[in-house]
Amino acid sequence: MADVMDDMYREVILDHYKNPRNRGKLEPADISYEDDNPLCGDRIRIDIRLDENRRVKEVAFSGQGCAISQASASMLTEEIVGKLVDDLKQISKEDILELLGIELGPVRLKCALLSLKVLKAGVYGLDKTTDSPNSTDQSV
């Protein structure tokens, strides 16, 4: 029905999909991580540069996928600029859904949360090693 569609493909989501913010790659970066959703082939990489206070100075995302996964990545990158790395760990699933402003079933939820999964893996990876972790391709 029309309202279901209007809901999931809200103007703001389509806008982020068609005109993604912070799209691209940062090389070198302080945090760099890549992962995919093997169910649908969605793939997202996030690169982050930090300032001397460990705040996000610059962020970029790349990859391919559906409108939901790409829009959520675009929105997430806008959201985290200026934030402390440690604060990125606090971002929750609910925060992403609030950004998107839609309700999602279990299948599409994976699309929506892929960018958060990538961000957190990158952030926690940074904790383990002082070097920038290499982008990880987990698909075989």
Binding site: L14, C40, D42, A67
Partner: protein, 412 residues
Amino acid sequence: MTSNSAFDTARIRADFPILSREVRPGVPLVYLDSTATSQKPTAVIEAMDRYYRNSNANIHRGVHTLAEEATGLYEGARDRVAGFINASSRKEIIFTRNTTEAINLVANAWGRANIKAGDVIVLTEMEHHSNLVPWQMLAAEKGAIIEIIPVTDDGELDLSTFDAILRKSPKIVCCTQMSNVLGTINPIPEIAAKAHAAGALVLVDGAQSVPHFAVDVQTLGADFLAFSGHKMCGPTGIGVLWGREALLEAMPPFLGGGDMIRRVYLREFKAADLPNKFEAGTPAIAEGIGLGAAVDYLLNLGLDRIHQHEQAIIAYALERLEEVPGVKVFGPKAERKGGVAAFTLAGVHPHDIAQILDTDGVAVRAGHHCAMPLHDRFQIPASARASFYLYNTTDEVDKLINGLYKVKELFG
């Protein structure tokens, strides 16, 4: 409605209760995902319901009335399946969970006894993961070599490479009869004749062919045929491995346990005769009975008529899909394929296509359809797939096309 006037689609649709439901109030279901699983006719649902209400018992060794009835129903289903594919003997019909388990059975029981380091196993680029991974596992364990028959741009097997592959004396050639993505119907008798001349056995994945057109193992040329109940109007949880009796006789058992034995001692056992030898433990009894009812249902309609109906629908669907700007359909022309249309729409991810179509009740699949290497071959991460069966109509194709124009409008 349909162009096949001899085929009363309205009456057939009435046999499938689910087809009259609405996805949301006022939005009827347009089910275009039968390649993933088919819907079930009342006859199948009732056969299983009847079994549980009247005859439920464990099979084979019980002597009470219910056990006799249950055994008769389950073994009767085996006879129906044997007749359905024209097997020489009911001993050649092994019930499994599904196509995947049937292929795993061959890869394990036959493969482990017959494949050694350096042996060649032939697969194709259009296989479902179920006909790739079991062989990859076997090859990794044994140090065997995998050779691949590639796929052409038109979505057919490139058999120009086959002779060179066969000169490597492969032990087995594993090939789908019909691609679950491209819809391509492969020339199995020709492939099997060449493979046999080179000394190789042939395993055919019949998951997409057996439900849709008549498959006769006497003329197919294969040595093993695997298929699933749930794609042919039957329930999930029941599948079939057909194999030549002499091959099955010579193979060691796969799973061990109850029902697959003739005699058990504390330190050894003697395996049961075919087909029980490969059916360890209590099987999916109700599901087997449901499959038997599905076979009756399909035979009553006639596989040739079902195929003819699907040919008409896919020809119409391809014609309409091609008129939508930005749509690219993968696979051969209608006359060389079954009722499957995998496609992409420029600028829109297949997930979004499927999601938006769902708002109109149109159920299509989006993803790699368990054929990642095939999607790599066409350099796409995913595709949308509409697939058709005996109950689909040209009206439903029109709803698909209208939905695609809506997608374009939204993403334009």
